[in-house]
Structures are given as C-alpha cells and as structure tokens.
C-alpha cells in the first residue's frame, strides 16, 4: 500500500517536474520573442515525422540510457557519480585506440573495442571508488576532477599519438564500426546503430544484478546503510568499488558505442559535452530504476533530437532544451510535489484538530 503510494508520488513528481520544466522553456521563448506553442509542436512532430527521424531519435536515446544507468546504479549504492562525463571520454578513448591500433576481423574488432570502452570506464571510476572506500574521500569532488583529467588526457593523446598533431583522429575502420546497414536502411538511412541494443541489455543487466543477485542485495544494502551492512558481514569497501566500476563501465559503454556507432572518430574537445549531466538528469527523473531510466532517456532523447530540428525549423536556439533539462532537474530535486502535499497535509491536520 505504502509502496504503491510512494511509486505513484515518484511518478507524479516526475510528470509535474517535466511540465514545469517545459513551462520554464516556454517563458524563455516568449522572453526572446518566439512562439512557444509552434516551437514545441515543431519539436515533437519532428522527432517522429519520418522513419529517419525515429531512427535518429533512437540513436540519441541510446547513450542517454547508458549514462542514466551509470548514475542510477551508483546512486543505489549511495554514490553520486558525477564522473560519468570523464568515464565516457575514457570509454571513447579506449575504443578509439582498439579501433585504430589493432587489426582484427569485422565483428570481433567491434566487440573488442566495445569491451575496451567498458573496461576503460570502469578503471577510470575505480580510483574515486577506491578513495571513497579506503580513505573516505567524497566521490563528488574526485570525479569532477577526474572529468577534467580525462578531457586533457584524451586531447593530449589525440594530438600526440592517435593523430599526427591534428585536431582529430582519422575515421575508424569499418571492421570496428557498430553501424549495421540493414538497421540503418530500415530507418531511412539514419545513423541508428547497435548501441541501442547495448543500452537495453545494460538496463536488463542492472535490474537483474540489483534485485535478483546476492551482490545486488549487498550493493543496495550498502547504499541505504553502510554501517548495518558492515555489521551484517558485507564488505562495504568491496561494494563501493564494485558499484563505481560497474557504473563506470556503463559510462564507458556509452562512450564506446557513441564513438564506434555515431561519430566514427575522436576529436579534441575544448570543454565537456554535458553527457554526464544528461545522465544525472535521466537517472533522477527515472527514480534510479532501470524502467524509469528507459522512460526518462526516451523523453530527453526526443527533446534533444527534436530540439535541434526546432532550431532548424523555427529558429529557436537549441540551448532552450538545455534550460528545460536543468529546470526539470531542479524541480525533481526540490521534490516540488512532496513539498506541496506536505503543506496540504499540515493544513489538513490543523483543521482536523
């Protein structure tokens, strides 16, 4: 009974927050003199208009699922992985290295590159996990710092090792690509790739791990109460490190599949892309459950892809979508619905008495 209520209120919170966030976006458009209704209409319709658009939307959703899972899984163990951004970059980097430096037969090449990406992300998340477990250092600050180190590491390697002083690497060989022509042609030649299957499998994995295995029991217990977990004979340190590494591997998978499926080369970046933040947004809106994350990633994916078309069609700068995301997160975090119902309940109690 209570559980159902809690689930309902989570869903309600998410829904209200999304609507309020879009309202903030509408106000932003009005301020700058655009028509929000037309803009939103363009946004939503363009995401579904043609098979091509649907394919592109799915492509946009795939990394959002993976980064959402990364944030959500860590959160279940009581860890806030702000480092998804950096782990994503390392995932890209590892996949690029395998793709460019190894010569393997098709399929195997791609599989090895994807696995390398997952391992890269996991290793990049290992250090914050280790520091948290052994020295009690807060993972938020460490992962933020690791994000920048990853960025500069990737840049220095692209310039000095993976290319001859250029700003980007050459294209990866097709043997390592995640593109699949039949899939692409099904969606009117969209850049949809195998990444979506990796993402869906990862969501399934997260569910099974957390709620069906003994390790998952430990991860969740540690997340809720590390002292009681220690008392019950679980290794809190092991759980923290494991959780960070699985989380990092999801982020690494996102990076690898984006690189091997979508962009096809690694470029020097001046700043972070914000993919890690998107993961936080997705996980938070999806209440850190695999199902919720799939839904939230779909919503953000539609907004992102539709938003870029909206810029094209209606001339509304794409950044308004980023503002909508940020506003949604603020509303979800502030738990605006709970706050409202609490006010209401307090009043009711008073009147009753």
């Amino acid at each position: 009974m209570q559980l159902i209520q809690r689930k309902q209120s989570t869903f309600l919170t998410s829904l209200v927050s999304v609507l309020l966030g879009m309202l903030v976006g509408a106000v932003m458009m009005l301020v700058a003199g655009y028509d929000p209704i037309q803009a939103y209409a363009a946004l939503l319709s363009s995401a579904f208009l043609m098979p091509y658009d649907i394919g592109e939307t799915i492509r946009t959703i795939s990394p959002l699922i993976l980064t959402g899972l990364a944030v959500g899984l860590a959160y279940r163990t009581g860890l806030f992985n702000i480092g998804v951004e950096g782990q994503f970059i390392i995932g890209q980097l590892a996949a690029t290295i395998i793709a460019l430096k190894l010569d393997l037969p098709p399929v195997i090449h791609a599989v090895v590159a994807v696995i390398a990406g997952a391992i890269g992300g996991a290793l990049w998340a290992f250090l914050p996990g280790l520091l948290k477990a052994t020295r009690g250092v807060h993972e938020v600050i460490v992962t933020i710092m690791m994000n920048f180190i990853a960025l500069y590491l990737s840049n220095v390697l692209v310039r000095n090792w993976l290319s001859a002083g250029a700003d980007s690497t050459e294209k990866i060989p097709s043997s390592a690509s995640l593109r699949w022509d039949s899939l692409s042609s099904l969606f009117g030649g969209a850049r949809i790739h195998m990444g979506i299957f990796i993402a869906l499998a990862s969501a399934l994995f997260m569910y099974y791990l957390l709620w069906r295995t003994t390790s998952g029991f430990e991860l969740r217990a540690v997340g809720f109460n590390p002292d009681a977990s220690e008392y019950a004979g679980m290794s809190v340190k092991r759980s923290l490190i494991l959780s960070m590494m699985i989380s990092g591997s999801f982020a690494g998978l996102a990076g690898a599949s984006e690189l091997l499926g979508t962009s096809g080369y690694l470029a020097i970046q001046g700043a972070h892309t914000g993919i890690g933040f998107d993961g936080i947004a997705v996980a938070l809106l999806g209440a850190n459950t695999p199902g919720g994350i799939l839904l939230a990633a779909s919503l953000f994916g539609i907004l992102t892809y539709g938003g870029s078309n909206m810029q094209f069609v209606e001339g509304v700068p794409f950044e308004v979508v980023r503002v909508v995301f940020a506003a949604i997160i603020l509303f979800v975090a502030a738990n605006i619905v709970r706050w409202g119902t609490q006010k209401f309940r307090k009043k009711a109690v008073k009147e009753h008495a």
Binding site: F148, A271, G274, L330
Partner: protein
Amino acid sequence: MLDVLTNILQTTVLYATPLILAAIGGLFSERSGVVNIGLEGLMTIGAFTGAVVTLATHNPWIGLLAAIVAGILFALPHAVASITFKADQVVSGVAINFLALGVSVYLVKSLYDGAAQTPTVKETLTRLPIPGLDQIPVIGPALFNAFPTTYLAILVVIITYFLLYRTPFGMRLRAVGEHPRAAETMGVNVFRMRYIAVLISGALAGAGGAGLSIAIGSEFNQTTVAGQGFISLAALIFGKWNPFGVLGAATFFGFAVGLALIGQIFGLTTYIPSEVLNMLPYILTILALAGFVGRAEGPAAVGKPYETGGR
C-alpha cells in the same frame, strides 16, 4: 630572464583573480553548510552578463555590477532548492551549472542573430597602475599594475578573513556550517544565514566571471569559463576553506592555468604538453583530498539540508 619572471608573475595574477573571487564565494556558501558545485554556472552567468551589459552601456563598471547582480539572481534558485526545499545540494548545483550555460548561450544566440559568441567588448576594464608601487621591479608590474578586479579580489580575501573570525556574523556563519541545530537553539536563524551565504557566493562568482569576459578576455562564448568554476572549487578545498589558504591555492592554480597558456611563448610546451599543465590543479586536489598533501576536511554540516525542529 627578469622579463620572463615578470611575465609569469603577471599571468599568474591575471588568471588567479577570477579563481580567488569565485573560490571565496564558494567559501561563504560551504562555511554555512551548503555545497556549491554551481560556482561554474555562477561564473558563466557573470561572464555573460558582464559582456552583454558592457556592450550595451559601454561602461565596464556597470557591466561588473550587473554581473554581480546576475550572480545573485542565479544563486537564488540554488538557495531555494537546497535550503527551503532541502534538495540534494550537489544535484541542485549541477543543475545551476547547466541552467546558467543554457540560458546564457541561448540569450547570446537570440540577441546576436544566432551567433555563438558576443561581439568584441571594446570598453573593457583596464589595468590600473598604483603610482610608485608599479615601478618596483618584477612584482611591481604584476601586482601594482593589475586589473581593478585583482585589487577587488585581494580586498575581498582580507575582508572575508576579518568578517569570518572577528565578527558576530562570521561566528554565526561558521556555527551554522558546523552544527546548525546548536546555532538555532542559540537564536541564530539558520535559513537566513545560509541564504545570505549562498547569495554572497553568487555575487563573488559573478564578479569572477565578469573578470573573464571584460578584463582578461573581451567577449563571451560557450567556453569562456570552461571549468574555471571547478578549479575554484578545487582551490577552496586545497585552501582548506580558509580565506588565505584559498588565496594561496587559487594563486597557485592561476599559475598552472597561466603556464599552460603562455607556455608556448617560452617553448615550454615542446617538453611538457599544455594539457599536462592543465591537469595539474585537478591532480593536486585529488592528492590533497586523499590526504597525501595535507588532509582536507570541510565544515561538519556541509551538504546536509537543515530541518527546523527536526523530528
């Protein structure tokens, strides 16, 4: 050789200034018990507002003032979410970062016909020599022929020190960050103290951001701030939440940032890639946190929402 030294010193002071301002802003917030990951966003909105208002009014001082106001305005949602609504302060701060970046880039595009950056600001803040002192060799040109924001930053550090340790306001601020319930039972209004602190952090980070767009640089675009808010956060931790510690840490990180930029001039980057120099502040902060470079421990109640009465 002396020229090189002067140059390095000058660059260090130049790049340390915004970091000092933003980090001291963070100090106020965190000393009151509110984590402020949003420094990056507050700097961004400050940089944006500084550039746009200066372009409109042709007066950088009004631009600086507007940046401070904008910083306060964007710190407000962080305060409301994390103090009144007891949201997770880290999440709220992250959201502020993206809100600020989204809003400012969106507005730049809207204001300047879809351009990704503002036009060049012609009337920037200019170096203000202090007669006599600026003639001292080496340090004179760096310290006493600096931008007004630099003098402001140093003044802010000194004022913060006395405010924090010598006045009732400072004592209450620190008490609220260490043990809010104790402070409340002594009649200190925890919510009000935290609001004031977060808004001060907005003002200072806003000023720091303006320093990037109308003093060091002369335009605003998506990468104007590019992580300097996070370096400020690092400086706050590395400086152990202490005003002069923060001054030292921010200066050192300013040196690292500056070196990465001017390294080419001395040919330094042929031996060490500039990216490695860029990494330095972040690596050092991790080492500091891990306890290899002195243990960094924040205020006891930082990050914890406060509930009045509490049951």
